[in-house]
Symmetry: C2
Subunit: 399 residues, 2 copies
């Protein structure tokens, strides 16, 4: 059949439409104020370069240094923050290709906004194949330039998603007391998505959430590590009993999951609680990333972390208080290494005494417990006992 | 704060509710005919054992042998099928613990159905800690017994999900011309989920889909490898232009994703098309698993594969026909190994000449292409050109 197919398409071996950044825009919805901010930022950056050239100066681009040495943690701000060190890229013979690629990437962003479209890193890489000498040969090159642009624009308060470069990952699943307001891409008509009306299913958060609005009477947002626990709480309509929004992170939350929770929490002034396994991965990878962001990408933490999240559980103390000993596992070497790293090298845990105590207790017990270990006391013990008991005293949650 | 928390819960260190399989059932919806079938199968299996004991015979459990040597492929049936070889487990001193665990697991399934609840493998493992001497010490033991039960009941046409043991994974994201009909767990009220009304988001398929019904005017189901491509087609409302249902598989489709597509395709008599990267992973892992299932778990393929799916793309011939040369990557060693395995060892590819030709062409070109390589010709080339051209001739799709 492969040969048959060949004959049907052989007459048109050349694609009928090549990439054309000047093509008329597709149908688009009303102007978004956020897009205007982004377009202004692109224009301002490009104008700086243009002006330098007109003045016979060498144009330059200043991006924050993306390294742990340029990261600090201020508990008042609540996230790992990028410092003021800048990398300056001046146009020269050796930098001309990267310089051109950066400008082409900015032009692509502008086109995406005008066409109300989005692109992934991969899309941008393949588009670059039409940029002549400025094309990328390998995707890691393209990713680096995009990371630089992200850092450059983060200084102007503009995120990569606002530039319309979106991740190739969805943003988790959501159920509960929430109406998400999105728009029809063609008509601009508002679409209300009622997250109480999913039966056993859920709302899959898109890769790109900047445009979403919310209506809710929920009292809190509960971010859950595993799909299994999320499914249990959803299946038993826990969100109705507790008046909350359930978010399934599926391990370390993706960019769009973190951004979704941040926007929802800010717009609706909702507290956020995290519910993960009691192990160093749950503390130092999942919770830490959700709360203060990542050290390696500190320039984006202003958009993506959820500084007001608090840790509902499981804690090492819960293993004792809820008699979970029979359902624990010994700490593996990788757990011990992670816990040690958190205590020794992580500015977040170093600043939080209750967390140091919790990790010390974990190391002393040499035991870890999964959130589903609560099934030891009955499949719905988590709903009937654990969560209600914990929620009586949110002030006691780990910070 | 950890210490503060301790003091607030110290007064009730013992959980207030232990696992109690005789606890009154929660609120539940109307009887489901499917549940009656499952309960009858459990009763039948248990009665066989009970009768043997009363007759002073040694009770035994017969499960299909789960090995590639007991798997065959019949193109007419359309999936990798388990053979008739059986493993017989007879109650003896050495098998008594596993025998007891199997029966306890069946009893747990019965309780889940009666309480209209579900459990993951992990839930079942932790529950077993209350089974005295029959408890599992490690989760792999528990998983093996569950796999045996799954094989045992597959002979009776009952899937693990019908036994209410559900995976710890969601089933992908869905958007387009489809109304999913689910039920409220408490009231039994039917809930209609309109998958045209998600804006940029989507419907997240639950871990467990047996109870879902559908309404659709779609002409086909399009199963997509990457979230990036799914998001593009969703963002541009491709499902409206083409009259289809979009399913984001996110790599190799999970059990519930495959089961969802299978049920939807069967109930609504819809053709299914797969759209993956042009590489051996896309062919032999993603597409093959979706279509004919897995060799290692052939006993479940009767429920989980989608025999009528056809391969819309990308194909090696597409790299030529759509002039994607600039956007290809060289085959890596792992690609070559996978392609070689498919040709030499896989009964599906061995039975499908067009696939052998396609993989031969790929090996000859020594190139692979990602589905997003179509962005080379414009971000929406896939919508404006590729998909319409391919869909003019579905008979030419790879089988």
């Amino acid at each position: 059949m492969a040969t048959k197919k060949k004959s049907t398409t052989a007459a048109t071996t050349k694609p009928s439409k090549a990439a054309d950044p000047t093509a008329p825009p597709r149908k688009r919805r009303a102007k978004d104020p956020l897009d205007e901010v982004t377009l202004a930022a692109i224009k301002q950056t490009a104008a700086g370069i243009h002006d330098a050239i007109l003045q016979h100066k060498r144009p330059e681009l200043r991006t924050p240094v993306r390294a742990l040495s340029n990261v600090s943690y201020d508990p008042k701000k609540g996230y790992l923050e990028i410092g003021s060190d800048k990398k300056v890229r001046t146009l020269s013979v050796s930098s001309v290709k990267t310089f051109a690629q950066t400008l082409k990437m900015m032009a692509l962003s502008q086109e995406l906004i005008k066409n109300d479209d989005v692109a992934t890193k991969r899309d941008a890489y393949y588009q670059s194949k039409n940029w002549g000498d400025a094309r990328f040969d390998e995707q890691p090159e393209s990713d680096t330039v995009m990371d630089d642009i992200e850092a450059l624009f983060s200084d102007l308060g503009v995120s990569r998603e606002q530039l319309r470069f979106v991740p190739d990952q969805h943003g988790g699943a959501v159920a509960g007391e929430l109406v998400v307001i999105d728009r029809d891409i063609e008509t601009g008509e508002l679409i209300e998505i009622d997250c109480t009306r999913f039966g056993s299913g859920a709302y899959a958060v898109p890769s790109w959430v900047e445009h979403l609005k919310f209506k809710t009477k929920a009292k809190f947002i509960l971010c859950i590590e595993t799909q299994g626990m999320f499914q249990r709480l959803q299946h038993q309509k826990y969100w109705q009993k507790a008046g909350c929004v359930l978010v399934s992170m599926g391990g370390v939350p993706t960019r769009s999951c973190r951004r979704f929770v941040r926007l929802l929490s800010e717009q609706c002034k909702l507290p956020v609680y995290a519910f993960t396994d009691c192990d160093p991965y749950g503390f130092a990878n999942i919770y830490r990333t959700l709360k203060v962001g990542s050290g390696n990408a500190a320039h984006i933490n202003q958009f993506f972390c959820v500084p007001n999240v608090r840790y509902l559980g499981l804690t090492p103390q819960d293993i004792i208080d809820f008699d979970l000993g029979k359902a624990t596992h010994p700490l593996a070497d990788v757990d011990v290494k992670r816990a040690f790293d958190a205590l020794k090298n992580d500015p977040f845990f170093q600043n939080q005494k209750p967390w140091k105590q919790a990790i010390d207790l974990l190391m002393k017990m040499q035991k870890r417990a999964e959130q589903q270990a609560l099934s030891l006391h009955g499949l719905n013990f988590v709903i009937d006992d654990y969560l209600p008991r914990k929620l009586k005293n949110p002030d006691a949650f780990l910070p």
